[in-house]
């Protein structure tokens, strides 16, 4: 990647990382506010608070969505920071897991399940993180284009003859 391209990528990464910090702060406030409501409900007598159980159910739903938001923001933050160092020491299990999660929406829209299967022992390589992430994402996109609805893709990394390679298991693949 030339210097100009690298600066462009770094720019998008920096802005995105900044925004994820802001969203994180918002989620932290919502989480604490919801938690405070739970704390107050806990010390409130059932008879003194009509529909207490419905409030608790609603708060549980809010908490579930907060957690979902936190997970998404954490993944986006990881992605935004990926151009920070190049070349970088990369944990292929971490990259596979993060990319399976980041691309899961694209898979879900096609009714395909996308999962990662960590290698044991974990594999580490020194490489350009952006190129690796892009290559992995493009592979996922290609697979999503050829697998029928209801299929499943499992991504994992392996060591073969002193080289690290990605492999994928495909279930219910009909149109290859």
């Amino acid at each position: 990647m030339n210097n100009l391209k690298r600066r462009e990528v770094a720019f998008f990464g920096k802005i995105t990382a900044g925004v994820t910090h802001e969203i994180n702060n918002i989620l932290a406030i919502i989480q604490e506010s919801s938690g405070l409501m739970e704390d107050i409900l806990e010390i409130t007598d059932n008879n003194a608070f009509p529909h207490k159980d419905k409030f608790i159910k609603s708060l549980n739903r809010v908490n579930g969505q907060i957690q979902r938001g936190i997970d998404i923001v954490a993944r986006l933050n990881w992605f935004a920071h990926s151009p920070d160092h190049c070349p970088a020491n990369l944990d292929l299990n971490e990259i596979t897991e993060q990319m399976a999660l980041l691309a899961s929406r694209f898979a879900r829209l096609k009714n395909i399940v996308l999962e990662s299967d960590p290698s044991d022992p974990p594999l580490n390589i020194k490489s350009d993180p952006i190129w690796l992430i892009m290559a992995l994402f493009e592979s996922i996109e290609i697979l999503l284009g050829v697998i029928d609805s209801g299929g499943k893709i499992i991504l994992s990394s392996q060591k073969k003859q002193n080289r690290c390679v990605y492999s994928r298991k495909i279930h219910k693949c009909i149109n290859l």
Binding site: N24, N25, A28, I29, S33, L36, I66, W78
Partner: protein
């Protein structure tokens, strides 16, 4: 048992006031500051047992505030709050004398556990 005295330092007003209320409900005495300078003023006048300190703040950054707290009174325990992707700051903070660090958004029960451990570590 005496209530644990905590100073919460974070520039997000809604976050820090709500967290203080939750800690009060858990029988802790929480004071708030929204920037490093104000926090240092509190520490000089009415030292807490533990400071919960956000790393990323405008003006004096969390790590800078941590160093100043330790220069004022090395016995005051500091728990840092970092964001995702900023665990390096947490590790750096522990090298500078922080008791521990937590990633925001935090789990209140985990924070309470750390606060109790931090106070025990002072004895």
């Amino acid at each position: 048992m005496d209530r644990i005295k905590i100073l919460l330092v974070d520039d997000e007003h809604e976050f820090v006031t709500t967290l203080a209320e939750r800690l009060e409900l858990r029988n802790m005495k929480a004071t708030i500051a929204m920037d490093g300078e104000t926090a240092l003023g509190h520490i000089e006048n009415d030292p807490p047992q533990v400071v919960v300190l956000d790393v990323m703040m405008p003006g004096l950054g969390g790590l800078e505030v941590l160093e100043k707290i330790k220069a004022i009174d090395s016995k005051i325990q500091v728990i840092l709050l970092t964001g995702h992707g900023a665990t390096k700051d947490g590790i750096r903070g522990m090298q500078l004398g922080a008791f521990d660090y937590l990633i925001k958004p935090i789990d209140i029960e985990e924070l309470v556990k750390k606060l109790n451990e931090a106070v025990k570590g002072m004895i």
